[in-house]
């Protein structure tokens, strides 16, 4: 299958949006450059996972991670980490998008937010691509992979924070953190709001703050390069700044 890459100027373009709705994009040559990307298959997958219950969203995330892993991640990284590629691919999936994200019909803002979303840590495809890549490169056993996918989705808040910081956007660090969370059953604690700390912002979460401490201490502590056993005591130390973790510490 061949994806034609879009020419600049498609963003925030009312006519482009209208042509998408009316299924006219593919016949208008002016929207496309001469560049193409080849993929064997380009199956549909959830691209915008903001609605529904937590359980429903988890299923959608898992589906996206699995499909991306099986069909998209063997392309050169220049392709699957390229916003232009994803936008070019998504506009070929008109029917799927309109069926699954009917809000796209309601206005160009929704179209921009769902289909032409900026490709960074807030973009669902970006999150899933990086997560899938980090996990698959590190873990070969299929069951273990599923376990990590699940851990990733259960700890999205801290995962988002990890990929937001450039220094932590790294496979080893992510796997280590997920392992530590799993071993010590910290998921709930890390997601919880910080209490009795008026000096911090209003919606401060424990997990984000722990990552913030890692960021602050780098490179005096080169945390992204550490082994899990080296990372664990430091993680618990930072956790103790924001959470009374005596119970957790006793288990170690």
């Amino acid at each position: 299958m061949e994806i034609r890459l879009l020419e600049k100027g498609y963003k925030n373009n009312e006519q482009f949006y209208k042509d998408f709705l009316e299924d006219q994009l593919q016949v208008k040559e002016e929207y496309f450059s001469n560049e193409v990307v080849h993929l064997d298959k380009t199956p549909d997958f959830p691209i915008y996972i903001a609605q529904g219950s937590e359980t429903e969203r988890k299923e959608l995330f898992l589906e996206a991670i699995r499909i991306l892993t099986d069909y998209y991640l063997d392309t050169d990284r220049d392709i699957h980490l390229n916003e232009l590629f994803w936008h070019s691919l998504l506009v070929t999936k008109r029917e799927y998008l309109l069926e699954n994200y009917p809000k796209i019909n309601e206005g160009i803002n929704h179209f921009n937010n769902i289909v032409l979303k900026k490709f960074d840590w807030e973009n669902y495809i970006y999150k899933c691509v990086l997560g899938a890549q980090y996990i698959n490169d590190f873990v070969t056993d299929p069951e273990q992979r599923e376990r990590y996918y699940s851990l990733l989705v259960d700890n999205l808040d801290i995962y988002n924070y990890i990929i937001k910081y450039e220094i932590f956007r790294n496979d080893r660090f992510l796997i280590n953190i997920l392992d530590i969370i799993d071993e010590l059953d910290l998921s709930k604690i890390l997601k919880s709001k910080i209490k009795n700390r008026d000096d911090l912002g209003k919606d401060e979460r424990v997990g984000r703050r722990v990552i913030f401490e890692f960021n602050k201490s780098y490179p005096v502590i080169m945390s992204p390069m550490l082994e899990k056993d080296e990372l664990k005591p430091i993680f618990l130390k930072y956790l103790s700044y924001y959470y009374d973790s005596t119970e957790v510490l006793e288990e170690v």
Binding site: E2, R77, E166, V220
Partner: protein
């Protein structure tokens, strides 16, 4: 994370720009090679602080290579390691890629015997102990701004109605020229006309490599690319650079097709998929 500017550290760090060390340097040098599936980073580094080199030798500190493109990759290096190979599906170099070498302590390090520090630390270096997991030094940054190898730039297309054949492929001084008697043969009216011309490109490449062997090989049979000097002929020189960049070491009459596969970007696969696409779309 890569340090492009000086940063403040609570202890002396070896860099090429700070004054913490008297005259020591930490120079990193990287060469990039690629083939169809991989990028290979060959590097060399030189640290002229005896103190630091001893830490490395005694495994009290380790070198870590950092490759930063869209994200960070860290490689803990063996002392003798001078090469890193990465799948193209796992690193992007089309946007800016920066590479730096860091030295990390793996135990607490006393600077008492560090004779390489600047005079400023003379009086209190006995008291300096750098904790484990800390950065001890970082090199200069080596940058790559995209891959430069575009095999198609070797080619020129020309229309020549007087041609006695449908197409003719010639080798000029600097390029491989594909001449067409009729514009239709270029498929210009079809989408992906460039890709549809790939079989001609293939033929041209074949011809050029044959001549390369004749021009540069001793026996008209094969060329050892590691042995020869860069050719003087401009077209041969382009091909030479392309092959070396793609890690081709030898070219012979028998291996021309393999070499074309290595230096071209899946030319025939792309051609096939375009033709299939045209058939299935009813064109």
């Amino acid at each position: 994370m890569i340090y492009k500017k000086d940063a403040n550290f609570p202890y002396p760090v070896l860099t090429n720009t700070s004054n913490s060390y008297a005259s020591s340097q930490f120079i990193l040098d990287v060469e990039l090679h690629e083939n169809v599936h991989h990028y290979q980073f060959d590097f060399n580094y030189e640290i002229d602080s005896e103190f630091m080199n001893n830490l490395l030798k005694n495994r009290q500190a380790i070198p870590i290579l950092i490759i930063q493109s869209k994200d960070n990759k860290f490689f803990k290096l063996d002392l003798s390691q001078r090469s890193i190979k990465l799948l193209k599906s796992r690193i992007s170099i089309s946007s800016r890629t920066s590479i730096q070498l860091h030295i990390q302590s793996i135990e607490d390090i006393s600077f008492r015997r560090n004779e390489d520090l600047s005079i400023f630390y003379e009086k209190f270096k006995d008291e300096i102990v750098v904790p484990k997991h800390s950065i001890l030094g970082y090199s200069n940054v080596v940058m790559f701004e995209g891959s430069t190898t575009k095999p198609l730039e070797l080619f020129e297309k020309k229309l020549n109605p007087d041609l006695k054949s449908a197409i003719k492929i010639e080798l000029s001084h600097e390029t491989i020229v594909i001449q067409y008697r009729n514009e239709e043969f270029q498929f210009n009216n079809l989408p992906k006309s460039n890709t549809l011309n790939n079989p001609y490109v293939y033929t041209g490449m074949h011809m050029a490599l044959q001549r390369f062997i004749v021009n540069n090989g001793e026996d008209n049979e094969s060329v050892d690319l590691l042995e020869i000097d860069p050719p003087a002929n401009p077209l041969d020189l382009k091909l030479y650079h392309l092959m070396r960049k793609k890690m081709v070491e030898e070219l012979s009459i028998d291996t021309i097709d393999e070499v074309i596969y290595a230096i071209s970007d899946r030319m025939i696969e792309k051609y096939t998929s375009v033709v299939k696409g045209l058939i299935s779309s009813g064109n």
